[in-house]
Symmetry: C2
Subunit: 658 residues, 2 copies
Amino acid sequence: MALAQFPISTTPRTLSHLACAFSSIPFSLFIHSSLSSSPIQPIPPPHPPNTMSTATNTTARVQKLRELMQSPEHNVTAFVIPSEDAHQSEYVAECDERRGYISGFTGSAGLAVVSLESAALFTDGRYFLQASQQLDSNWTLMKSGLPEVPTWQEYLVKNLPAGSRIGIDPLVFTATDASKLEVDLAKVGSSLVPTANLVDLIWEDRPARPASKLMILSTKSTGRTHAEKIEQLRKNLEKKSVAGFVVSGLDEIAWLFNLRGSDVHCNPVFFSYAIVTPDYTSLYLQEKSVSQEVKDHLGSEVAIKPYETIFDDLRAMSSSLKANNKKILLGSRTNLAMAVALGKENTVEARSPVTDAKAIKNETECEGMRQCHLRDSAALINYFAWLEEQLANGVEVDEADGAERLEKFRAEQAGFVGLSFDTISSTGPNGAIIHYKPEKPKAARINPDLVYLCDSGGQYIDGTTDVTRTLHFKTPNAHEKRCFTRVLQGHIAIDSAVFPDGTSGYLLDILARRALWADGLDFRHGTGHGVGAFLNVHEGPHGCGTRIAYNDIPLVPGMTLTNEPGYYEDGEFGIRIENVMLVRKADTPNNFGGRNYYGFEHVTLVPIQIKMIERSLLTHNEVDWINAYHAECLAKVSSFLAPGSPGLKWLQREAVSI
Amino acid sequence: MALAQFPISTTPRTLSHLACAFSSIPFSLFIHSSLSSSPIQPIPPPHPPNTMSTATNTTARVQKLRELMQSPEHNVTAFVIPSEDAHQSEYVAECDERRGYISGFTGSAGLAVVSLESAALFTDGRYFLQASQQLDSNWTLMKSGLPEVPTWQEYLVKNLPAGSRIGIDPLVFTATDASKLEVDLAKVGSSLVPTANLVDLIWEDRPARPASKLMILSTKSTGRTHAEKIEQLRKNLEKKSVAGFVVSGLDEIAWLFNLRGSDVHCNPVFFSYAIVTPDYTSLYLQEKSVSQEVKDHLGSEVAIKPYETIFDDLRAMSSSLKANNKKILLGSRTNLAMAVALGKENTVEARSPVTDAKAIKNETECEGMRQCHLRDSAALINYFAWLEEQLANGVEVDEADGAERLEKFRAEQAGFVGLSFDTISSTGPNGAIIHYKPEKPKAARINPDLVYLCDSGGQYIDGTTDVTRTLHFKTPNAHEKRCFTRVLQGHIAIDSAVFPDGTSGYLLDILARRALWADGLDFRHGTGHGVGAFLNVHEGPHGCGTRIAYNDIPLVPGMTLTNEPGYYEDGEFGIRIENVMLVRKADTPNNFGGRNYYGFEHVTLVPIQIKMIERSLLTHNEVDWINAYHAECLAKVSSFLAPGSPGLKWLQREAVSI
């Protein structure tokens, strides 16, 4: 799927029908019972066709917030409310949707600033229309990216009165961001004032923080014990000459301790922090998440402590760090509150070593990714066969029905835990809305005369999937075929790339676009992102795309990467072809410069619709690639489809040579 | 040719045989008579086979330098001698070869530091062996790039005693470099002390600074008058709200005033500075370079002043700038002496707007590049036909003979002025030495059983050329063919690339390497550089390669770029295929995002040897490209070859379909 954030489901998930799947899981697992316990506040997708147009009346809540700001206890003239939670998560739990609560704007990206006189909501072009419909008259919409519009940082410095006292909750700001901002604010005599989260204090009926029971992963599915991972981290810290590391990313903690949760929709994580030093490991968990099994799993080497108490422990560390002239490593996305508790002078900042270690899958994880993709591919094939049959029979199927049916096919697969993100099921023009999500009652009927795009993925106990296919159920026109073929050529170029060690996804990105560019076409999203192993579907630090930050992260064997070029024609159709790949050592006849050469192994195995391909545009190498890919789909996925089933027939018909 | 610096000729050029060529030049030109008046100090190439192994006895000169350093007038404890001249030229005149004089080391890259106790010479891996042979016992060789070796800046800070007074000639240091260094030196109580160039003061028989008479270019060859270029520069300065610009790059001045000289070997430039403000333009020239024709050309709007007096004028500007709170723009490569003369507080630094304007050729310049490449291609074809015949007849031809003969063929062409760099003519293993230059008596016999690589170029009054072809005169083996074909595929991929506006040569670079990488092969130089229009063969600011700085400079129509992927097998052979191209608007069927799409137009038209191609590796698109390219060579170059000549026959035999 595309790299920018996508909207979170409006539909509370009910996964009780998955019990059957769990019973067939061949691994030793502790399955929590609260997978569906975190209904998420509805967040519509970014584009008009699906926008809820009712503005929320925020007069009372903004008024309450201002009263609190003026109270002697807080005494601030403005308060900033970003989208992120204390862990800088890409997706947050409902209780952390503070910006949505105060402003009424529920898009995935945005930041609110409330001063005594004004209330401003900053968001980007994807959300201008939605925000203008959701914000009431208390709010001014700041259209980020337009030339005359300041960034929110500039706004704090220049638009608020000089000498402003700007309240922030240090839990939801990174230390890095705050440091930069403080310098600029000081120039106009303004300052950042750490406060409690004032929105939490006025939020009536704020949902409770979810505290799912934890799932324990055995070494059979993770390849390494948490003790081994901690040992590797310690060696890393020793090399960096630091006295410890504070782990704050939820997926980092889940990976490090071989635990999974369900506190955030589609992301199998749980609220937690951890501290690892040469001498001890502390894991901070919500009490409800702790069970005897979890204690047994973690063993005596890991101290389990209450979630909130980490700040006391950090403060306690501060003086001994100073006395011994030692530093604690903080990841660049760690919140300001932790840096303050430790004392900034006792910290050094760098990209999290846990993020880096997590990105490189071991052989067990790679094999898990392969295996779950076989089952996931079978589920998608079953769905396409089913959908084709319905449409052929004239049955009306809308985009949301399709998504629901696909989830059912996934749930039939062994090891299925849930979706890895909300399914994008889109017909015709809706396919051009990159992060479209069908919602009843607005979901469109899937029109067999139009191009259909489906981007979806699952969480399995042995891995996470993410796959897009674009199909036509009747006869595509020449333009649709040409565009599809250009996208396919980009997909093949990435899939078959061979490159020396040190090469980043920033450099490879052009291979995905070259064939499109030849026709004056392009797509406005990245080409690929890392995928967690039964973890978040978006994972760093690497990626393939035009973000210059990717250029600092060479691809190395064991990394996962999606390959998802696309093309979108507004009002007409969308095309995307996406597989998940593993970076692997390539077998080259030479090794110039004594370097290692790498390539990719695709693990997604769903046929690419031949009727969409304009064969005359292809080179013989590209034709060979398609034929080999289809042969591989047939060889590896057939056994996951029931004999005589529509899915197997569909695979046999589609996975052919051209 | 490759992007790294290449060695300057050891052979004083005699271009008197070119008079015939000049007489046929169809443009109105003033031809100077001193084109060969600047013999250059011999600089051997970087690799052992051609290294002069005699060390220079530097005892006396180093001793004299130290005496001068200790004199009350100068009073410094160290003196730094870089390679550059006052204009930060890539190639310098003999009188500016100070580092070579003081150390005996004549490589193209290096920096010397002489203290009262030590003398250190810093150079990179290309020159370790040569430097160790050329340096006598007074010197310590500092092998830059090895892990334990400090950079010269670190050396000044850490290896020299704290509190050192380090003399520098501010003429040969950029203000940018000096500023950075001063901060670090201050930490150890050391300082930079501007002095006269102490090497000049002790240099016996230092060659005089060349002062060639100037060649005037008419608008017919430049497309724009110098008044129009100055007007454009003024508009640019107005936009930047600066009170003027100091032009210090020699090629920038030559371009701006439509003048050419011959003060630096192979680079048609002349020693000069210029100041452009909204109100006046001053051009600072050596007296000998000024003639009545030059005065008439420049007209009354340009004040001609003596070369050295610019510093007095800059000092004079300083107070009025301060009084009016105005700033002068200095290019990032302007020397420290100018910044000091102006007062650093009165300056702002940025990439030179003249460099940027010069890089984008107008239609007249583009047409000149096309035309001179037709004649230059004919010359190269004549040479290859001649060489093939000699070798077929068993005549012994060495690499230097070949280069000389090629120069003669070029000199027969209309508008020829000289070479644009010393010809690389290399047989077998010598081809793997990327910047090889054949020198008598060491030049090898061209062995028809081995791969022959020839990289060469000319200066013509309508443009500058740079072309490489790789040939085999008998039967190449399968490995040579496969490597050649991989290089060719990279060349074709760059040549046929189409890309949206905003794309840089940093991003395109991978297209040149992709086919090589598939075989585990690569090359260790850039893919392409800008080429001047009858100016320096290396020109910025853009380029195609792995240097991240290229990523800041998008390619735009009118830019020139070489396309020169290669492959080098040490001790065996070298392969490079190089054309000059122009960036042009591409004719795409769509323009997604309302963007412009660009592509390349190759202007070099010399057949690519078919016997070196392994056809089975090529796609049909690549085959089509070769066939179309050969048809174009035949159609466009035939008329530049004499009827019935060996050259025409060779072209007709080689420029065929495969």
